[in-house]
Symmetry: C2
Subunit: 401 residues, 2 copies
C-alpha cells in the first residue's frame, strides 16, 4: 500500500503529523504545513473501456472495493467478469472517489453528472487533455472543489475491457491536474489512486499539462504524419532507399486517424501554439534553402547559419529527453554486431552478453535490404563497451567496433 493510504472515510480532513510523500520528483512540491490523508476504500469507475477496466484490475487487489458502471451493459458485465470490480447498484453506499473513464468528448458531461449525483464524492477523469474539461465543468456550474483532473499516460493499440491489464500503469506517468478550486484532500485521493495503480504521480496545472502533451506527444504525431505523407507520391525505387532514420521518424504515422482527430481537436490551441513556432522555424529553413537553390556556391548570406542552427537547436532539445527510469539521458555506448537472420541468433548473442554480466540498456535491430543478415546495436553503459567487444569477439561474434 502507498504510504499515505492510512485511514478510510476521512477524505479532505486536515491531519497534522508526518507528511505523506509521493514518489520521485514531485515530493518537494507538497504542502509543507498541512497534509490531507487520502482514503480509498470505495471507488466507482464510470466507463469500462481499456483504461477504466485496467484501473479496476489494478486497484481491486489492493484492498479497494470497486464498483463499475458503463452505458453499455455488455461492456460493464465483461469488465466485472474480468475481475475489474462488481456491477454498481442503486443501493451501493456512496463512493469516496469516482473515476470517469469515458471518451474525451463526453468526459466533461459525465464528470458534471457524477458530481451532482454524489455530493460528497471526489471525481477524477482520465482524458488526455485537461483545460477543456475544466472549462466544461465551469460552464455547467459544477462543484469544482471536488473535481481533480487526471491523465494516466498509458495505453495500448487495442481498446475495450477485453484489453484491460492490471499492470497497464506500472511505472508510467500519471499526471494529476487540480483545478484552482480543487480541495487539497481531494487531490491527495487522486494521487493515492494513481499510486495504487502503480503509476508515478506528477502534478501539473491544466495549461501546463496540455502544453506538455502537445510538445511531447501531439506535435510529434503531426510531424510524423506530415513527413510520411510526403512518401505517398514517391516512386517505389525511391522509397526503397529508406533507412532506419525514416522508419523511426514515421513509426507513429501509422496511428488511428479517428482517435487522433479527437485528441488534436481537444488540445487544439496548445498544439497550434507549438506548431506555429515550428512553422515559423520551418519557413526560415525553406527561405535559407531557397536562397541557396541549385548553386551551393551562391552568395546566400546567413543561409548556412540558419541550417546549422536548425540542427544545433534540435541537438539541444533532444538532449533534454530523459533516459530510462526517468533519469536524465545517459550517453550509452553502442556495440554493433552483424548476425545471421535466423531463429535464435539474437537470443544467443544476448545470452552471451548476459553471461558477461553486462546489462543491456537498449537494443536495436536493423535488417539489411536484400540480405539475410541483421545488424544488432546493443546499448550499454560506456565503461562496458570495450570489455564487451573483447568478450563477444572471443566468443566468435562478428563485432563491428
Amino acid at each position: 500500500m502507498p504510504r499515505h493510504v492510512v485511514a478510510a472515510g476521512d477524505a479532505g480532513q486536515p491531519v497534522r503529523g508526518p507528511l505523506p510523500r509521493t514518489r520521485g520528483r514531485q515530493r518537494t512540491h507538497l504542502p509543507v504545513e498541512v497534509a490531507y490523508v487520502a482514503a480509498l476504500s470505495r471507488v466507482r469507475i464510470v466507463g469500462t473501456g481499456l483504461i477504466g477496466t485496467s484501473i479496476g484490475l489494478a486497484i481491486r487487489d489492493r484492498g479497494v472495493e470497486v464498483s463499475l458502471s458503463d452505458p453499455s451493459p455488455t461492456a460493464v458485465a465483461l469488465a466485472a467478469d474480468l475481475g475489474a470490480g462488481r456491477l454498481a447498484t442503486d443501493d451501493d453506499p456512496a463512493p469516496e472517489l469516482i473515476v470517469v473513464a469515458a471518451p474525451p468528448d463526453v468526459t466533461g458531461d459525465v464528470v458534471a453528472q457524477q458530481l451532482t449525483r454524489f455530493p460528497q464524492a471526489t471525481v477524477t477523469d482520465v482524458a488526455s487533455v485537461k483545460r477543456v474539461i475544466a472549462h466544461e465543468l465551469a460552464e455547467a456550474g459544477a462543484d469544482a472543489s471536488r473535481y481533480v483532473g487526471g491523465h494516466p499516460m498509458a495505453g495500448r493499440e487495442r481498446s475495450g475491457a477485453i484489453s484491460g491489464r492490471s499492470d497497464l500503469f506500472q511505472g508510467r506517468p500519471w499526471v494529476v491536474v487540480p483545478t484552482s478550486n480543487s480541495h487539497p484532500g481531494r487531490v491527495e485521493q487522486v494521487c493515492a489512486l494513481a499510486e495504487l495503480a502503480g503509476a508515478v504521480v506528477t502534478r501539473m496545472e491544466a495549461a501546463e499539462h496540455d502544453a506538455a502533451v502537445a510538445a511531447v506527444s501531439h506535435v510529434p504525431q503531426v510531424a510524423a504524419s506530415l513527413v510520411a505523407s510526403r512518401l505517398r507520391e514517391l516512386p517505389t525505387e525511391s522509397v526503397a532507399l529508406a533507412g532506419q532514420g525514416l522508419r523511426d521518424v514515421t513509426r507513429i504515422a501509422a496511428s488511428d486517424p479517428a482517435l487522433w482527430t479527437q485528441i488534436l481537436v481537444g488540445n487544439a490551441s496548445a498544439v497550434r501554439d507549438i506548431l506555429a513556432e515550428l512553422a515559423r522555424d520551418l519557413g526560415g529553413v525553406v527561405a535559407a534553402l531557397d536562397a541557396i537553390g541549385d548553386n551551393p556556391d551562391a552568395l546566400a548570406p546567413g543561409a548556412r547559419g540558419v541550417l546549422a542552427a536548425l540542427v544545433a537547436d534540435g541537438n539541444a532539445g533532444h538532449a533534454r529527453i530523459p533516459g530510462k527510469h526517468g533519469l536524465t539521458a545517459v550517453a550509452y555506448g553502442v556495440v554493433t554486431v552483424v548476425v545471421a537472420d535466423e531463429p535464435g541468433t539474437v537470443a544467443r548473442l544476448l545470452h552471451d552478453i548476459g553471461a558477461e554480466g553486462v546489462n543491456m540498456e537498449d537494443l536495436h535491430i536493423e535488417h539489411e535490404v536484400g540480405r539475410q543478415v541483421g545488424i544488432v546495436q546493443v546499448s550499454v553503459v560506456p565503461q562496458a563497451v570495450e570489455p564487451l567487444i573483447e568478450a563477444l569477439r572471443r566468443r566468435g561474434w562478428n563485432v563491428r567496433d
Copy 2:
C-alpha cells in the same frame, strides 16, 4: 565475383551475348540489345576516409588491385596499413576505375582533375547529392561520358580510415547515377564496383536520386530537428512525460550540425521543394486548429476533416516504407512481455523464443519511468503470435497479450 565481371581491360566495349544482370529490382531496366562487360582489375581510390577506406577493404580481397591516394599522407598510410590497398605512385599503370571519396564540397573538383589526369579511366564518386556534382563537371568542361555518379547509402557515427569496415556496404543500397552522357560500359563498371562491395545496386537519374534522398533522409532530419527544438524551453517535468513516440521521432535530431549543414546545402532545392509542400500542409493544420481554438464544440467547418486527412495521409505514406530485406512492409504481430531489468533477462526471453523455432522480425525495449522493469515487444509473423504467446506463458513469462 558478380556475374558480369567476366573479362578485364575491355571497359566500354560492346559485347553480344548473354546479358549481364544486376541484382533485384533494376534488372529489367538494362539495355536489351547491347551489353557492356565491366572490368575491374585496377581501381584507384581518391580519399581514404571512412567510405574510401571501406571500399578498399571490401573489394581488395575480391581480386581487385587497389591503389590509394589522399591529400593527407597520414590518412592514406593508415588506410594502406589497414589493408585497404597500396599507396598510389606515379609509376602505376593507369586505373580502369577511379573512386573519388572526398568530402561533398570538393568532390566535383576532384572528379574533374581525375578525368583529366587519366584520359581512359572511368570516374565515380560517393557524394550523397548528385545533381550539383554533374553541374560542376559540366561547368568545368570535363569529359562527362567517363563519369558515373554513385551514392553508397551506408555510414557510421564515426569517421576516418580507422573506422573503415569491409562489410560497411553489405546489403545496403548503392545508387548508381549515370549522367545523360555516361557511356553504358562505364555505368556497368560502377555497378560492378558496388556489387563487389556487397551492396544492392539501384540505378537512378540525378534528379530522381536527389528527390529520393530528400524525402527519405533529409526532410526527416529537418522534421526531427524542428520537433526536438521545441523541447528546449519546456519545463523539466513536462519533458519527463516523454514516451517512445517522441524518442523515435527525435532520435536523429542528435545528428552533427556541421555535416548536416553541408548535406542540406548540397541538396537545397530538392529539400526545399518537399519542405514547401510540408509547410503548406502544416499551414492547413495550424489553420484548422486555430478555427477550433479553445472550444472543441465550436462550428469550424472542415477543420476536423483537415486533421483526419493529415493522419490518414500519413498512414498511406507510412505503409509504403518497405520492411526488412527490401520487401514490402509486412504487418507483423507484436507479443509484449514484461521483464525484470536485469542482465540476461532479455537473453533468456529470446532464447526461449528461438527454442520455439520462431524468428524474431524486430525487437523493441521500453523501460518504464521509475521502475526497474522493461517492456519487450517482439515482432513476429502474424501466424506465430498465438503459438508464441502460449509457449512463453508455459515457460513462465509475463506476456501481456
